[in-house]
């Protein structure tokens, strides 16, 4: 077991999934206790005897045995999953039934059920994402809080409330009902998209945390693709955009830990395997007539991916894709990205005008890259003093040391009057 393989984290979700189907989702807390217990046992035994050959099976067996104890002890005091019914009343049937619940192929489905359960319509989107991270991905409340740059107390409150909402239903979400599944699928896709975005663009100061969030989102999206009714063109598009964006992650931070913007990235560092995988998913997403925001975002990412140099980027197509994205799912962030692409196509002055024209741009005021974009474009137009003011404003909003350091460097460029190389091409 290597330190980086997250076996415990991933196994946690699998065990909670199996146990909540057994106990009923209203007994989620009990399921979590059993999982904690299994981890404690593992720690106590493995630390001395070493990790067993099949650690996942070991943990699952520990959880299963503990579940049997709990069912024996509490079968009269508690209501468990309704379908468990009378099977748990007799020792003759108890053990075989529990054994069935822990069959590996069944657990895979349970994870998916749990994922859909977490995207409960009564929960705000951000809470759904936190819940997925906590229950399915095994992040502790502290780890969730740090991923979302929130306080422990705030994260705990949201997660506790969310669990109460889940507890109002007895069963896990029924993924075998195609109507129910397709009704909730968009919420699940959206939650995974937001999870990925939190990792990719979020404020968490630690780049390691961010990469982990992206990885978790990709793992869950892959899980969704494995389940035929979940593998819709939109899910393929979502997986494509995750792969294509994640492929750029290795180039986003340079050797000395500095943030590197897309324009300056060493494209040789992009992960070719992920790019290929992303393009494969994008091809699969083209089936059918549905066009989602994931299709458009994946298409934009694919244009960046296929440009061997920044200058070779097809900005005209990217702008038109952003235009369509704006009609499908308008947001100030999309508008800002569109304006940046427009600046590449038509020149910096047009970009500035487009940024100024963003409706609801007040919603971007807390986002450092709004001012930073204005600064970048002003710098290209040779107005280094204005650019400096924008970068100073952005600096005041920097959310972590990496952003601060990046913006300080840009501010430094304004003061020396150095015009970034990328600009001279299209002015």
């Amino acid at each position: 077991m290597a330190s980086g393989d997250h076996l415990f984290r991933h196994q946690s979700g699998r065990m909670v999934a199996a146990l909540t189907r057994l106990f009923g989702i209203h007994n989620l807390a009990l399921a979590e206790d059993v999982v904690q217990d299994a981890f404690c046992r593992a720690l106590e035994v493995w630390r001395i005897r070493g990790v067993p050959e099949n650690p996942c099976a070991w943990l699952m067996t520990a959880a299963k045995n503990r579940a049997l104890d709990v069912l024996r002890r509490e079968r009269t005091a508690r209501n468990f999953a309704p379908e468990l019914g009378r099977w748990i009343e007799s020792e003759w049937t108890l053990a075989p039934v529990v054994e069935e619940y822990f069959a590996p192929n069944i657990i895979k489905d349970d994870l998916l059920r749990l994922m859909f359960s977490c995207c409960h319509p009564q929960l705000p989107e951000a809470t759904q994402v936190m819940l997925i991270l906590h229950i399915l991905c095994g992040f502790s409340v502290d780890e969730v809080a740090s991923a979302f740059v929130s306080s422990h107390a705030a994260a705990e409150k949201r997660i506790t409330r969310a669990k109460k909402v889940l507890a109002t239903s007895k069963r896990l979400f029924d993924t075998t009902d195609p109507d129910k599944l397709s009704a909730r699928l968009p919420a699940v896709q959206r939650a995974l998209y937001l999870l990925f975005n939190e990792g990719y663009h979020g404020a968490s100061p630690e780049s390691a945390v961010r990469a982990e969030l992206c990885r978790e989102a990709m793992r869950l999206a892959a899980m969704l693709l494995e389940h035929p009714p979940g593998a819709t063109p939109a899910t393929y598009a979502l997986a494509a955009l995750m792969c294509l964006d994640a492929a750029r992650l290795p180039a986003r931070v340079d050797a000395s830990g500095h943030l590197v913007p897309l324009f300056e990235q060493d494209r040789g560092q992009w992960d070719q395997e992920l790019l290929a995988e992303g393009l494969g998913f994008l091809a699969l997403s083209a089936a059918g007539s549905e066009l989602t925001e994931y299709h458009l975002e994946a298409a934009i990412a694919s244009h960046h991916a296929s440009a061997p140099r920044m200058e070779a980027t097809d900005w005209a197509t990217i702008v038109s894709l952003y235009d369509r994205l704006m009609t499908l799912r308008p947001s100030p962030i999309v508008a800002l990205n569109r304006a940046i692409a427009l600046a590449q196509r038509d020149g910096a002055e047009h970009g500035i005008a487009a940024i100024r024209a963003i409706t609801e741009h007040d919603r971007l005021m807390a986002y450092p890259f709004y001012s930073a974009a204005l600064g970048e474009l002003a710098l290209r137009c040779g107005r280094s003093r204005t650019a400096g003011e924008h970068f100073r404003a952005a600096l005041a909003l920097a959310r972590n040391p990496m952003e601060r350091e990046f913006l300080e460097r840009r501010l430094g460029a304004c003061e020396t009057g150095e015009v970034p190389e990328v600009c001279n091409k299209r002015m």
């Binding site: 077991m1 290597a2 330190s3 997250h6 076996l7 415990f8 984290r9 196994q11 946690s12 904690q36 981890f39 404690c40 046992r41 593992a42 720690l43 106590e44 035994v45 493995w46 630390r47 001395i48 005897r49 070493g50 990790v51 095994g138 992040f139 502790s140 502290d142 780890e143």
Partner: protein, 114 residues
């Protein structure tokens, strides 16, 4: 060289996240590897189950475990070789259990040669 036993006291903590537990295990493995590489690890030893009973006195009264507070429960043991008690103590300071508020009890093993 003398032999010592390390008694690991303190139950695994109930609060850590799965990831933290996994990282903790990695530290144990590294610690044992280092002990072994330097010729100090005579036997890995065994983890002990939490359950069990105590049989006590001439009346042979049997009572259930656990026998102490969670922080004092012996969760396992290993056999160590060291020059003297001072070195055995020094080596025990690398034990990851200490990071989680647990304890290592270092006891010389009595041999006939004394």
């Amino acid at each position: 060289m003398s032999e010592f036993t390390y008694l690991y006291r303190g139950r695994a903590d109930q609060t850590g996240s799965p990831e933290e537990r996994q990282q903790h295990l990695v530290k144990w493995r590294a610690w044992f590897q280092e002990l072994g590489a330097n010729g100090h690890l005579k036997e890995l030893g065994h983890p002990l189950e939490n359950g069990g009973v105590v049989v006590k006195g001439s009346q042979k009264i049997v009572t259930d475990g656990p026998f102490a507070e969670a922080k004092d429960v012996v969760g396992g043991f290993s056999i160590i070789e060291a020059r003297d008690l001072a070195q055995a103590v020094e080596l025990s300071k690398g034990c990851p259990i200490l990071e989680l508020g647990g304890a290592v009890e270092v006891r010389p093993i009595q041999t006939m040669s004394m």
